[in-house]
């Protein structure tokens, strides 16, 4: 296994310390706004906004999108999660800047070519886009934020996402090791 092209650990924050800070950010979010952090919701809002801009009629009559778009409804982009994710982009960029990690690069397992990696990444993203609708959130919005408020849904999301990951990891091993 080639460990060399994984970014080296020493350059990152100690994971427990990072987890502690992440927990504090989540706690602050809950304390100030009464809600948790999230990510997939913003992707959903963006999808609906794009769809509504391209084909408003079809979007508004779609039984799923129609709940979020249409006359009298707020612009889907004016949602808390869209603004939060805009912040994530800024915050991630600042972190990359201060830690000197800004670089246009494709990161992949040692046996995977960049183009294949792009395809797999897109497929993975699509699966998350679908799965997060059924679960009403992804690793951040359903699992992490849900666990912080001890919701059953949070623990189900965490167990099913990571449990499945371990169950199918064997079949995807050539992608990563």
């Amino acid at each position: 296994m080639k460990a060399s092209n994984i970014p080296q650990a020493g350059k990152y924050m100690n994971p427990y310390l990072a987890g502690f800070f992440l927990g504090l950010v989540l706690l602050a979010t809950i304390f100030i706004t009464g809600r948790g952090l999230g990510a997939s919701g913003a992707i959903k809002d963006a999808t609906i906004a794009i769809s509504d801009a391209v084909a408003p009629g079809l979007t508004e009559t779609n039984p799923f999108f129609g709940q979020y778009a249409g006359p009298g409804k707020e612009n889907p982009l004016k949602s808390w999660l869209v603004f939060e994710i805009a912040g994530v982009l800024i915050g991630g960029f600042i972190s990359g800047l201060v830690s000197d990690r800004l670089k246009v690069v494709t990161e992949s397992g040692p046996r995977v070519k960049p183009r294949a990696r792009w395809l797999f990444a897109a497929i993975g993203g699509a699966l998350f886009g679908i799965g997060a609708q059924f679960t009403r959130g992804c690793t951040s919005g359903a699992a992490l934020s849900g666990m912080a408020v001890l919701s059953t849904a949070g623990f189900i999301a965490m167990l099913s996402i990571f449990g499945t990951g371990y169950l199918v990891a064997y079949f995807g091993r050539k992608l990563w090791i």
Binding site: G10, T47, F83, T152, A153, S160
Partner: protein
Amino acid sequence: MGPFVPDLISDQLNLVVAIILGIAFGFVLEQAGFSSSRRLAGVFYGYDFTVLRVFFTAAITAMSGVLILGHYGLLDIDAIYVNPTWLVPAIVGGVIMGIGFIIGGYCPGTSVCAAAIGKVDAMFFVGGGLVGVFTFGELFPFYGNFYTSTALGPIKVFDSLGISQGIFAFLLIVVAVVAFAITTLIERRVDEKSAPSLQFKPLKHLASGTFAVALGVIFIFMPDHKTSLTEKVSDPSYAAAHPVDKMDADELAFRIVDHEPNIRIIDIRSPKEFAALALPNSYNVQRADLFGKDWVSTFSQRHLRKVVVGNDETQERTAYYLLHELGYENIAILRGGIGTFKRTILDSTTFVPTGSRWDDDVREFREGARPAILKMIADAKNKPVKTVIKRKIQGGC
């Protein structure tokens, strides 16, 4: 008392707050190394357990904070968003996402963070996410019914397991600490030379783990705010040390008939009992709702005399003390509970002389008040019920 939305922070300002919190979120994710798909995927192959460490530490930190703030009444636990459970769809969605994680190497939050520092694969992941949501929406009619099936509402995990909140929190911390230890051993076995955990100082981590478990033990003995306050005021010595203001049924009847504006009747009986007999212009507030923010605007007005009405004085006292402990003033309880009010004012029984020289006046007043109040009660039944609009708790993806 948190949360500050929507009272102190408007919906508009909340969007600014969202950006600031998002910046912090993205910064920490990137510093943790979540902008690297290989590190993320490592959790499934044993060469890098960063995800597990960051994820569980974050969940436990936030959970601990919520429990502690809730215990001291600094955070209204009932006003924060608890994501509801749709059991089977949630599991199916999780399975789909788990497969997506192995194939894609990111989850949505980390992909945005990675895209921000120039990871091209992450940009494809985000693009794929848009396609995925779109596909889900287009095919929605095929599984629309399934999507809303097995709805269990915003249930809590400790209730689902039938254990107390504290014990669950303790167990979660223990599981996490044990998982941290085991995965560190696995990681070092998989990659002896460059396992990330080789950087750790054992003593520091041992101390942190011990501290976390100790915190878990405290949680076992730390009830939530409601339970601890209720226990406090239910203690006989508390009642002995805290006298209560009482209002006689006659005085209350007089104020009702008089349409006294500076009085609020807070009926703490069950909705069923309230529906059977409610005093004119009274509010039905369940004991659990005394803690929330729904009634703050009523309770916090000092010039309003809050008269607690219950089945008996014991029930009234508990509510009285809770209101007192929550910082509200100008409260009284109805002497003898609603039973006394019903017997002396509403029922046309013969007057029981007390030997007081005012007996005649009292009897005369009651005879006049009886039909007046009964008429007010009858009129109220034809009017729509006054209810406080429950605050909408926002959240979810």
